[in-house]
């Protein structure tokens, strides 16, 4: 659990972070969003003390971060950044094993852990272990960056726009992987991004910052439905907010039981988003869809009316 109490950071005369309070529960993925220079990266770096805060307190599991030894603190917090920050003169395996080695794990345990992580992130050992970072694609390098952040099995993971430099397709697949990983590992993650779709897709809690202050925080759904002001509304996509909400709501939530009527030809998978369902309806010019499972068997149906008005029943 990470708690921030009235945390302030000034750079000279400029106040970068202005008395923010925030609580990230264990196992929660908290995304900090906002325009550039809003203080989200500074906030992230104050947690592992890459930047020291001037006022207020930051607690890790109830203990102020200032009481920790600086290096010991960082070694128990995973850290992944945009350009990956991989050491170009070290092999992939050596990069991943960095923190375990800093923690003086025995060599055999480091090696076992590196193998485990490479398997976890889909990097075949014999193919990648001895490669250098410049021999990797952007997506592979980012995977190594995440593996390195996870190496010493930290409870907390800080990620500063980790997928920012990737092409959209690679980014989406890595986001999906992170979601799966998080479901299995249940880390406490603080994630900085300026990609709103990424934040909406990944976050349990969304924190919108502006000029060093928190404007609004809550679940992605609650922010989309009830933005605090015009800034939050436009940041979340303005009039596209409805589609963004549809994009993070699964079909299974609105699905109706099969009716005795003839099953429509147009179909959508039950794990698809409402946005995709809407797209299928638009494309197929249908106002009713069959909802199917992995075996392509109909498990329910979804009408346009139900899709649009479903919220009323919640």
């Amino acid at each position: 659990m990470i708690e921030l109490f009235e945390v302030t950071k000034r750079f000279g005369a400029e106040t970068a972070v202005d008395g923010i309070s925030l609580r990230v529960e264990s196992g929660e993925l908290c995304a900090l969003v906002g325009t550039s220079g809003c203080g989200k990266s500074t906030t992230l770096r104050m947690i592992n003390r890459l930047i020291e805060h001037d006022g207020g307190e930051i607690h890790l599991d109830g203990r102020p971060v200032r009481e920790f030894d600086e290096q010991a603190l960082r070694r128990r917090i995973g850290y992944a950044i945009q350009s990956t920050g991989l050491f170009p003169h070290w092999t992939v395996a050596r990069n991943i094993g960095l923190v375990p080695r800093l923690l003086k794990w025995p060599a055999t345990r480091v090696r076992a852990r590196v193998e485990e992580l490479m398997a976890l992130l889909g990097l075949p050992l014999e193919q990648f272990a001895d490669k250098y970072p410049h021999q990797l694609s952007g997506g592979q390098a980012q995977r190594v960056g995440v593996a390195r952040a996870l190496a010493a099995d930290p409870d907390i993971l800080l990620m500063d726009e980790p997928f920012g430099a990737l092409d959209p397709i690679t980014r989406e697949s890595l986001q999906a992987e992170l979601r799966d990983l998080q479901a299995r590992l249940n880390k406490t993650i603080v994630f900085v991004t300026h990609d709103m779709d990424e934040a909406l897709a990944l976050a349990d809690r969304l924190v919108v910052m502006r000029a060093g202050r928190i404007v609004q925080q809550g679940t992605p759904l609650s922010l989309l439905r009830d933005p605090a002001d015009d800034f939050v509304a436009s940041l979340l996509g303005g009039e596209d907010r409805g589609l963004k909400e549809a994009a993070i709501t699964p079909v299974s939530e609105r699905m109706q039981p099969l009716s005795p009527r003839l099953l429509p030809k147009a179909r959508v998978h039950q794990s698809a988003s409402l946005r995709q369902a809407l797209s299928v309806m638009f494309r197929e010019q249908a106002d009713r869809l069959a909802v199917v499972d992995d075996e392509d068997m109909a498990v329910g149906e979804l009408s346009l009316r139900r899709l649009v008005e479903g919220r009323r029943d919640e």
């Binding site: 890459l50 070694r75 923190v99």
Partner: protein
């Protein structure tokens, strides 16, 4: 793209053809050797045809004609043959010289001296260019380059040993023979002076670069001062150091005991150190500052201590550029150390200035040629080391290996 496509096309390799023709012109147009009855009298320059006769000169031109002919249709096999031929010619150069000497010198004059003419130097230079061109065309690695250098050196050494009596009248050899002991000392002194100055500037330069990284003001002041030192002519710098060092030697006992004087090794060493500091500090500073910020931030964020970040990340990543600085500094110091002979610091410069004083060009060469060889060797060795250590180079090797 166009160049390599051109090379594969049946058109002639114009570079090698042009170089061969230039070598032929040199062989026929300018003096190959100079012959003097003794050291005092200026020598008579002699062209190849004047020594070996028309038939001999034609015979000597044949390999160069063959080289041009081979390069005219640059198929792989022919280019390989051309490479072998050029290498053989270069290796045989001293033997040819010995032959010319034997033909030109009157055995009745034991004091006679054989000088090296412009054709000799041109041939040496042009053949080296041919080898470089062919090495590139044939995609040979640096190992092949070193192999060729070694082969030439070996051939020349062997020729000198086997034909020592024929090459004995060589003026360069004569100058060496009468000072073989002084020559050894001079080479040693030269190397010591360069090694000491470069070593000291590495330690001092790294310290200065590190201090500069701490403070903006120090950075500006430091570079201003070092640039200023660089603009002082070397002779003036020796002059400036003379008085303070003489005073120190007279008043500080342990400095006197160390051999510090107004002239000698002390001003030479200090001047070399001063000149070496700028390239050393500049490269080290740029190298240390140039390490990617993201990498350093990640290193810190992972929980590396300051010392770990410096020794395990910053320094290894900066090393290729630091080595580049050592290379530049070393090559520069090897040349500058020659001037140090003027303040009595010894070294190979002694021969150069003696030779200039006595108008004995071969004595100048005795000093200049080893300096040239040293500079080239230092440049090649340190350059190769720097390339080896840079991650960029790992990339191309990593793919192949």
């Amino acid at each position: 793209m166009r160049v390599s496509a051109h090379a594969r096309a049946p058109g002639a390799n114009r570079v090698v053809v042009a170089l061969s023709v230039a070598a032929l012109l040199a062989l026929w147009g300018v003096a190959a050797i100079g012959v003097a009855p003794n050291r005092i009298v200026p020598g008579t320059p002699l062209k190849l045809a004047e020594v070996a006769g028309w038939y001999g000169a034609l015979l000597g031109s044949l390999p160069l004609l063959a080289l041009a002919a081979l390069a005219w249709r640059p198929e792989l096999a022919r280019l390989k043959l051309a490479l072998g031929l050029a290498l053989a010619l270069l290796m045989a150069l001293p033997a040819g010289l010995a032959l010319l000497g034997a033909l030109a010198l009157d055995p009745a004059l034991p004091q006679a001296r054989l000088g090296l003419g412009p054709a000799f130097w041109l041939l040496l230079f042009l053949l080296a260019l041919v080898l470089i061109e062919l090495r590139t065309r044939l995609w040979l690695g640096s190992l092949a380059g070193w192999g060729m250098v070694a082969a030439v050196a070996l051939a020349w050494g062997a020729t000198g040993w086997v034909l020592s009596s024929w090459l004995a009248p060589l003026a360069l050899w004569q100058e060496y023979r009468v000072r073989s002991e002084a020559f050894g000392t001079a080479v040693l002194y030269h190397l010591l002076l360069v090694g000491g100055a470069v070593g000291a500037s590495l330690v001092l330069g790294t310290a200065i670069a590190l201090a500069m990284r701490r403070s903006r003001r120090l950075e500006r002041a430091g570079f201003t001062l070092l640039n200023l030192v660089q603009t002082i002519p070397s002779l003036a710098l020796f002059g400036l150091l003379l008085a303070p060092l003489a005073w120190l030697a007279a008043n500080v006992g342990w400095l006197h005991a160390l051999g510090v004087r107004g002239i000698g090794w002390a001003p030479a060493f200090l001047a070399l150190l001063g000149y070496s500091l700028l390239p050393m500090v500049r490269n080290t500073f740029v190298a240390l500052s140039g390490v990617e910020a993201g990498v350093l931030e990640a290193a810190r964020g992972m929980g590396m201590s300051r010392a770990q970040v410096f020794w395990q990340v910053r320094l290894p990543l900066a090393l290729p550029v630091v080595l580049e600085g050592i290379r530049i500094t070393t090559v520069q110091a090897i040349g500058l150390a020659a001037v140090a002979a003027l303040v009595g610091a010894g070294g190979l410069g002694t021969f150069i200035f003696q030779g200039l004083g006595q108008a004995a060009m071969d004595l100048v060469l005795l000093g200049a040629l080893p300096i040239l060889a040293m500079a080239l060797a230092a440049d090649a060795l340190l350059g190769a080391l720097s390339r080896r250590l840079s991650p960029q180079e790992n990339r191309s090797h990593g793919g192949a290996g």
